[in-house]
Amino acid sequence: MPPARSWRSYPQTYRLEAGRCTSCGAVYFPPRLICSQCKGREFETFSMKRTGKVLTHTVIRTPSAAFAGDAPFAVAIVEMDDGVRLTTQVVDADFEEIRIGLPVKLEFRRVYSEGDAGVINYGYKAVPVRS
């Protein structure tokens, strides 16, 4: 991914910025221009809470080239406490530990890098809530 493309998504990958429709309250991550519920065009931006729970999960053993060094790794669809769903890796957890309903929080991690010389792309990954 060219640096400019990942740079444009920093508000979401770094700060979990979502859009809330000012007329009906629907939340979108990433934000949208038109609300699919009420066709509204005004949104307020807010940073989501970093907590949620696993909705479903799998283990990737044959990843795309960019993630070859990470395999095998767990991926989950996480339902955030603010209501939206997002797809992310689940790390710092044994595969057997990951189950539907597992409370997780999103930590800041390296997601992938362009070889040893290219830019490092950071973003969120889910880890189990243990405290």
Binding site: Y14, R15, D70, K125, S131
Partner: protein
């Protein structure tokens, strides 16, 4: 005007490796390393963790305790000897991730293991001068020792972040005095493009660590007209378990003053994070009115010393984020040397 810490946060990777596991690979005698270093295990970062990611998590925890808007932070300094980039500031990514951009002064610091306390020192100074409302100083490292070298048993990963401010009602601890002591002492170094550092063996002790730390602490005690007995806690840089106890004894501090902030036996040496993380563990348990001494040490060589007094608000702020002893003792998973070698990129992969 009182200036001090209004928020603090720690972060430690979840994985640990035991001294026995490293000694086994190199045919070394684990009991003698454990005795010699007073160290049982150390933290190991994952492949997706580095100085920037650890700094972001520590900074987020500091913000939770401070309860301020990140946009009011006027400066961010990340001190480390393992910045992920040779050219591109770690602090810019940290500031972006916590929402402190764009009206923010930022620089990365390097001074072996005292880069973190430098950030605290400068952030404190800028708040005191009135140039920024709040300032953040972070010490973070994912340090490496050459395979089989004595450093491999201790080089660890972790981060601590501090937000400095002067709002009377937000202060968790005032910083009452500072002092820096610094000379050119070649005890530890890493040249450009070299992967692992070199060190001067026994030269790292007396003329380096002990002379510098005692120099800084004696000077700050004299400046503030205080004695070791006036402190509830003392935190010294901890490259191994023995040095902070011995330097404390040389200066007149008792073991009970030192042990609360001495994390190294189960954490390892987190370099720029070392004494800053020790300070977070002290703030987690200190009572209002307690006086705390912290003194870092960075090879090359220098020490930054701070005298702090804990304030009433510590009681309500400390539980807003994970405590350091919990990160250290509860949230852990052991790895074997093979996984450790992979995670620390000690295995050469096909291009």
């Amino acid at each position: 005007m009182a200036v001090g810490i209004i928020g603090y946060g720690a972060h430690i990777p979840r994985r640990r490796i035991k001294v026995e596991e490293i000694a086994k690979v190199w045919g070394a005698d684990a009991p003698s390393y454990k005795r010699g270093l007073e160290l049982r295990e150390k933290s190991v970062p994952g492949l997706d963790e580095d100085t920037i990611t650890l700094s972001v998590e520590a900074a987020r925890n500091a913000l939770l305790r401070a309860g301020i808007d990140a946009r009011e932070i006027g400066c961010i300094y990340v001190g480390s000897e393992s910045h992920p980039y040779a050219v591109k500031p770690s602090g810019a990514t940290v500031a972006e991730a916590i929402g402190a951009t764009p009206d923010c002064h930022c620089a990365d610091f390097e001074f072996a293991c005292k880069a973190g306390s430098e950030g605290m020192f400068v952030a404190h100074g800028l708040v005191k001068a009135g140039l920024v409302k709040y300032g953040m100083g972070i010490g973070a490292d994912t340090s490496q020792g050459a395979p089989g070298d004595a450093l491999e048993y201790s080089a660890a990963a972790g981060a601590a972040a501090f937000i400095m401010g002067s709002d009377e009602e937000r202060l968790l601890a005032t910083i009452d005095e500072t002092h820096s002591f610094m000379t050119d002492t070649p005890d530890f170094w890493r040249r450009e493009h070299q992967y692992y550092p070199m060190h001067g063996g026994r030269f790292t002790g007396e003329p380096a660590y002990f002379r510098t730390v005692t120099g800084a602490v004696k000077a700050i005690l004299e400046k503030s007209n205080l004695q070791p007995a006036d402190f509830k806690y003392a935190v010294f840089h901890q490259p191994n378990g023995k040095f902070p106890v011995r330097v404390g004894k040389m200066l007149g501090f008792q073991r009970e003053q030192i042990d609360t902030g001495r994390l190294v036996p189960t954490l390892g040496n987190t370099y720029s994070g070392s004494s800053p993380l020790g300070l977070t563990a002290v703030l987690d348990v200190a009572d209002p009115g307690d006086r705390v001494l912290m003194c870092s040490y960075g090879s090359g060589a220098g020490s930054d010393a701070f005298i702090l007094t804990v304030k009433e608000r510590i009681r309500e702020a400390r539980d807003r984020a994970p405590q350091t002893r919990w990160l250290l003792d509860e949230n852990i998973r052991y790895v074997e040397y093979g996984e450790y070698a992979k995670l620390r990129r000690k295995i050469r992969l096909a291009e």
